[in-house]
């Protein structure tokens, strides 16, 4: 019988810290978690670092520097199970907007001395670099889902985080459809569940912060958005190019609208994203 407590590590790459903060936001559960598992490496919360290997590693953030592209391999080597948490780690995050632009120009907009900055041209998810055992979606992750994932791995079972659309959660909550009833554009039909249909519950359209659901029909949705809701192409481009811009289904859909735009609109967007 195993008496040793399983060892958990939390790692950070390019991100806002919000997903690992979700663990500290489990105010009622945190001390119980600490009783069951050894929080061996969680630098945001503790000076004490226990050496690897670790039973479970939670990885937040995307790969954006040459150093980080090396570091993730070392973390993989030390981790029995590696779980990525949040949009940055699973799709490249909002910083993947650089993938559609020239990063050198981005650097010169923000920094006076571009030569001091070391960064990669693209922001990429962890799974582009190492094998990932499980991806938990969301910008930020839902803390109850985070607890479910940790619990599931400790129990040796598959986490219960359904990959269907936000629409399913919305219907279950009995929320009136914001798109059908109010004409509000909503990415719910193509977005991965997990938030509990938060935005529709607040009378706003889903903006896709959990990224694409499995098998999303994005082109059908944009046909609706264009024909029925009269959304412009730049608006549709922006809708798919946000917190999960690098996720394949959203990236492809956004590129559709870039290609379809007429010359004038292309110039406008191009100028502004580069200016």
């Amino acid at each position: 019988m195993q008496t040793r407590k399983p060892k958990l590590a939390v790692w950070k790459f390019a991100s806002c810290d919000g997903c690992q903060l979700s663990l500290l936001d489990c105010e009622d559960e945190l001390l119980a978690i600490a009783g069951r598992i050894d929080i061996a490496n969680f630098v945001e919360a503790s000076r004490a670092v226990v050496k690897g290997p670790y039973d479970i590693s939670l990885v937040e953030g995307s790969i954006t520097t040459p150093h980080d592209a090396e570091r993730i391999h070392e973390i993989r080597r030390q981790s029995k199970t590696l779980v990525t948490i949040g949009a940055c780690a699973t799709s490249g995050g909002i910083q993947a907007l650089r993938n559609f632009a020239d990063v050198k120009e981005f650097i010169s907009i923000v920094y006076a001395r571009p030569d001091y900055i070391s960064t990669l041209a693209k922001s990429t998810p962890i799974a582009d670099h190492v094998f990932v055992d499980f991806e938990l979606r969301g910008c930020p992750v839902n803390k109850m889902q985070l607890l479910e994932v940790i619990t599931a791995f400790l129990a040796g079972r598959k986490p219960n985080t359904p990959p269907h659309a936000v629409c399913m959660e919305c219907k279950r909550r009995g929320i009136v459809c914001v798109m059908v009833a109010h004409g509000t554009p909503c990415l719910g039909p193509v977005t991965h569940a997990g938030c509990g249909a938060l935005c529709p519950a607040f009378d706003r359209g889903c903006y896709g912060c959990f990224g694409p659901k499995e098998t999303p029909n994005t082109s059908s949705l944009t046909t609706w958005m264009g024909h029925i809701l009269h959304m412009t192409k730049p608006d549709m481009l922006r809708a798919f190019r946000s917190y999960n811009a690098g996720a394949e289904a959203f990236r492809k859909e956004s590129e559709q609208h870039q290609e379809k735009m007429d010359g004038q609109e292309m110039t406008k967007i191009g100028e502004r994203s580069r200016a």
């Binding site: 979700s22 936001d25 503790s46 000076r47 935005c199 994203s273």
Partner: protein
């Protein structure tokens, strides 16, 4: 804390910490000690750049609160508040009445959760000698539990009015998407009444901690409002005569790009480093605190002035107490407005706003075209404003303490940095502590590792 030097030759040591813990983000400190004097100090920020100001160009003005929230998972409301106020300034809209009050309310929630996270989970373990709050909970379970429950109460304000704790979805340019009925907030009011009592206990407890003697002469910069303790409005003032509107920020402050940091260093033109955050607000706005918070401050030994950053844990506790007072005042007068937002029509122009994030002044500037697309954006977060001051503190803090055992000195330096609750994710990010002692006579090297 006086440290006697029993050595003739100033000792030389090399101290290195690979990753400064209990701060938000990734940073390092490089400290070079030469003959007992700090020869060089660099707060290195390795947090990878994410280029928000660049990719905001071409985005729609209504996207600013959601996009800029992603700069920081700990203080997303601060970014949302600075963003909406700057955009509304550009569009010539002023949000008033209940909507204005609710923006203060949701900010109260963020200050409570962010400050309480720092007080109990990041800073207190330094004073009591624990590696983390989880280690601390083994001996002080009731205190840690109290901290977690106070933090939870702050998060409940944010999730009730914002939808969720991290990256709330209910804040929009012009107000909110949807607001709760008065009947729905009754349980929250009860919880906040408990929180106010617990916050008072926090102030009393924080005052019993032991503080090193480290009073410094800083230039404090914070907002000041005619009647209120500041959140979203007021003039930028300092104890050295600064008194300007938010739109004059660029004329008085400069961001410098230094090689060792991915965060820009802000300085006041002609004067250099300055201090933003709870201690600056407290010193410049003591008279705007509620009577309860003022009395608690006096009882804790702070009569309106605090110049020792180690005591900032008490100041944060006082601000948390005040936030509960203010949140209850707002909720007791709460009536759901007829509409949760006012219409904002874009126009060509530039808008400016400075609001008080938990860690201090947060400045946003947006230039819009006539359709509301962003042409240019500038964001100055609090931690980049404090970076130089943190370095200055270490320069003064270390010399009298160079004889301390290495581990102790290392830990005290970390604590001196944590005094500022630095959010490196905001300022960009990675704290590594590296103290390098050089130029000692041969043979006097004390290899530490």
């Amino acid at each position: 804390m006086g440290v006697t030097n029993s050595y003739r030759i100033m000792p030389t040591k090399t101290i290195k910490v690979d990753y400064l813990a209990r701060v938000e983000g990734e940073g390092a400190l490089f400290l070079k000690i030469k003959d007992g004097v700090v020869a060089d100090v660099k707060l290195k920020i390795f947090e990878p750049p994410r280029f928000f100001e660049a990719f905001l160009r071409g985005r729609d003005f209504r996207e600013t609160p959601d996009i800029t929230a992603r700069i920081c998972g700990i203080c997303p409301i601060a970014y949302q508040m600075s963003a909406v106020h700057a955009v509304e300034d550009a569009c010539g809209v002023k949000v008033d009445g209940q909507l204005r009050a609710l923006r203060r309310l949701i900010y109260c929630g963020e200050w409570i959760e962010s400050h309480t996270l720092h007080i109990y989970m990041l800073h207190a373990p330094d004073f009591l000698g624990y590696e983390s709050a989880i280690h601390m909970a083994k001996d002080h379970a009731a205190i840690v539990q109290r901290g977690l429950q106070i933090k939870k109460a702050g998060n409940e304000i944010v999730s009730t009015f914002g939808g969720r704790e991290v990256h709330p979805i209910n804040v929009r340019v012009g107000g909110f998407y949807k607001l709760p009925a008065r009947s729905e907030i009754a349980p929250l009011i009860e919880r906040l009444k408990w929180g106010r009592d617990a916050a008072l206990e926090t102030v009393k407890w924080a005052a019993t901690l032991t503080f090193p003697d480290f009073e410094q002469d800083y230039e404090f910069v914070a907002l000041r409002h005619p009647e209120e303790y500041p959140f979203n409005e007021g003039r930028l003032v300092s104890n050295r005569g600064l008194d300007i509107a938010a739109r004059e920020f660029d004329a008085h402050f400069t961001e410098e790009h230094v090689e060792h940091s991915n965060a820009l260093h802000a300085v006041i033109n002609g004067r250099g480093s300055y201090f933003v955050g709870p201690m600056a607000r407290f010193n410049l706005n003591f008279d705007r605190l509620s009577p309860l918070a003022q009395q608690a401050a006096r009882d804790a030994g702070l009569n309106g002035v605090c110049r020792n950053p180690f005591r900032s844990i008490i100041v944060r506790a006082i601000e948390v107490l005040w936030c509960f007072d203010e949140a209850l005042r707002i909720l007791e007068n709460y009536e759901r407005p007829n509409r949760p937002f006012v219409e904002v029509t874009p126009r060509a122009g530039t808008g400016y706003a400075a609001t008080e994030a938990p860690r201090g002044l947060l400045y946003h500037r947006y230039q819009l075209d006539e359709t509301g697309q962003i042409l240019d954006a500038k964001i100055v977060p609090p931690t980049s404003q404090n970076q130089k001051t943190i370095e200055d503190d270490l320069r003064r803090f270390v010399p009298p303490r160079v004889d301390l055992p290495t581990e102790e000195l290392k830990w005290q330096c970390e604590q001196a940095i944590r005094n500022y609750d630095p959010c490196i994710s905001c300022a960009t990010h990675f704290l590594k502590l590296h103290i390098d002692n050089e130029s000692v006579p041969p043979g006097c090297q004390i290899p530490i590792f």
